[in-house]
């Protein structure tokens, strides 16, 4: 099996054979988990770290007033909170939006891994920096764009990330197992309003959405409308990136 975790971390730093082998050892014994299950619950100190091999997850919090806010999505190949053991308790929950395949890694094993392999630790740190940068874009999106642009921006981000893991068809189509309620809770609006916005996106010839599948009809225009710039996702491997990777790989 192709280890997507290795692929992901190699975008950030150089890894040698020993390190790759250690990561491979981590990824064994995949489980199937049903949609709707929470992998990690807010307020707890989880004993395991999860790597998502297939399916969609999401990070969220429930508010006092009954509302919910979604902070991010986990796509196939993503890993949930490797750093779980660094803070005393989770500040949000992680749930599954679809049936999923996950690998469970005991937190202690994860801790041993980063103690032994400094470069893996550093790569994981960089991964959290990317999450941080993505969260900043979400703040911009919710804070400074109207509902139409905001929705377009989210679709651009998901399209880009799904593409990076090879899950977008040649017709720019991909699975989107989100209800309109979940889209609303992601974008800071109501499900009634997101429904109307989706209609406008369809009428504008920008997307087709139905049966839990999204087609991006006009990626260029969607990005223009929403001011989307994929840089923050760090999915590329520019020459600058490559030199950066080796610079960070200094031996101790």
């Amino acid at each position: 099996m192709n280890n997507t975790l290795v692929t992901k971390l190699r975008r950030f730093i150089e890894l040698d054979e020993g390190e790759v082998a250690a990561l491979d050892r981590l990824v064994r014994d995949p489980h199937s988990v049903k949609a709707g299950v929470d992998l990690i619950e807010e307020g707890t100190n989880p004993e395991n770290v999860f790597l998502l091999l297939g399916g969609w997850g999401y990070r969220y919090s429930l508010l006092h007033n009954g509302g919910r806010q979604i902070f991010g999505y986990l796509l196939p190949g993503d890993l949930c909170d490797v750093h779980v053991f660094m803070l005393d308790k989770m500040d949000h929950s992680i749930g599954l939006l679809s049936d999923a395949t996950v690998v469970k890694v005991p937190a202690d094993e994860m801790l041993e891994l980063i103690n032994r392999y400094p470069r893996i630790e550093r790569a994981l740190w960089i991964a959290t920096l990317v999450t941080e940068s993505t969260l900043r874009q979400w703040v911009v999106n919710i804070g400074r764009r109207d509902a139409f642009e905001r929705t377009a921006h989210l679709f651009c981000e998901l399209w880009q990330r799904m593409q990076a893991v090879g899950l977008v068809s040649v017709t720019d189509q991909f699975d989107l197992p989100l209800t309109q309620i979940e889209l609303a809770d992601t974008l800071g609006m109501t499900s009634v309003h997101i429904n109307r916005i989706l209609q406008r996106l369809r009428e504008a010839g920008l997307i087709v959405l139905g049966k839990r599948r999204l087609t991006i009809l006009d990626p260029r225009r969607l990005a223009d409308i929403s001011g989307f710039d994929p840089d923050y996702l760090r999915l590329d491997a520019t020459p600058q990136h490559v030199s950066l990777r080796s610079r960070l790989s200094l031996v101790r």
Copy 2:
């Protein structure tokens, strides 16, 4: 001079004398910088990392349509982006809201430091996790709370953080060098509207704000209104925290 950086990192992990000495060596030769200056600009790959000893900084981005979004504030004792050398370019700018005192550390020196002291690296990683968790709260705030609650929540956060660095008077008063325009760009609203919200907060007997100083008249009620729970800032040192710190300090 009391090294606030050491204090901050010790909340996350145990540090020995050698590590403390290394951090002390970093913090020398403070500069004065004028309000309005940008320490770091979006799109660049900065050569230096900054530690803020006095004054206020802020992280922000400018949008295509002329708007601005603020992502966070840097208070005395905070450090801007130690990890600057881990990504190829900044995804946001860092500016100064008031005259400030800063220490400039060359990025290479920072890199050497973390190469040499794994525990310092880990502490800095944890610091980025706290930033991440704070950003999540900002997403909740902007996405799921109305203008009144949202403003109250921001004031609770700032009050708590200022308290942690000893800058709140016994009368719950502290410097707040923000214009209403900056508050608006933080909270995803217009300056006209924030002005009206501030009036309501004053009328409700919750705050006094003027002359760049904020007084929190009723901290309890302000927190209730806004659903503020300080946990995400990780400013405490609970017993659980202490055992966590030592657990993370395994030698390699």
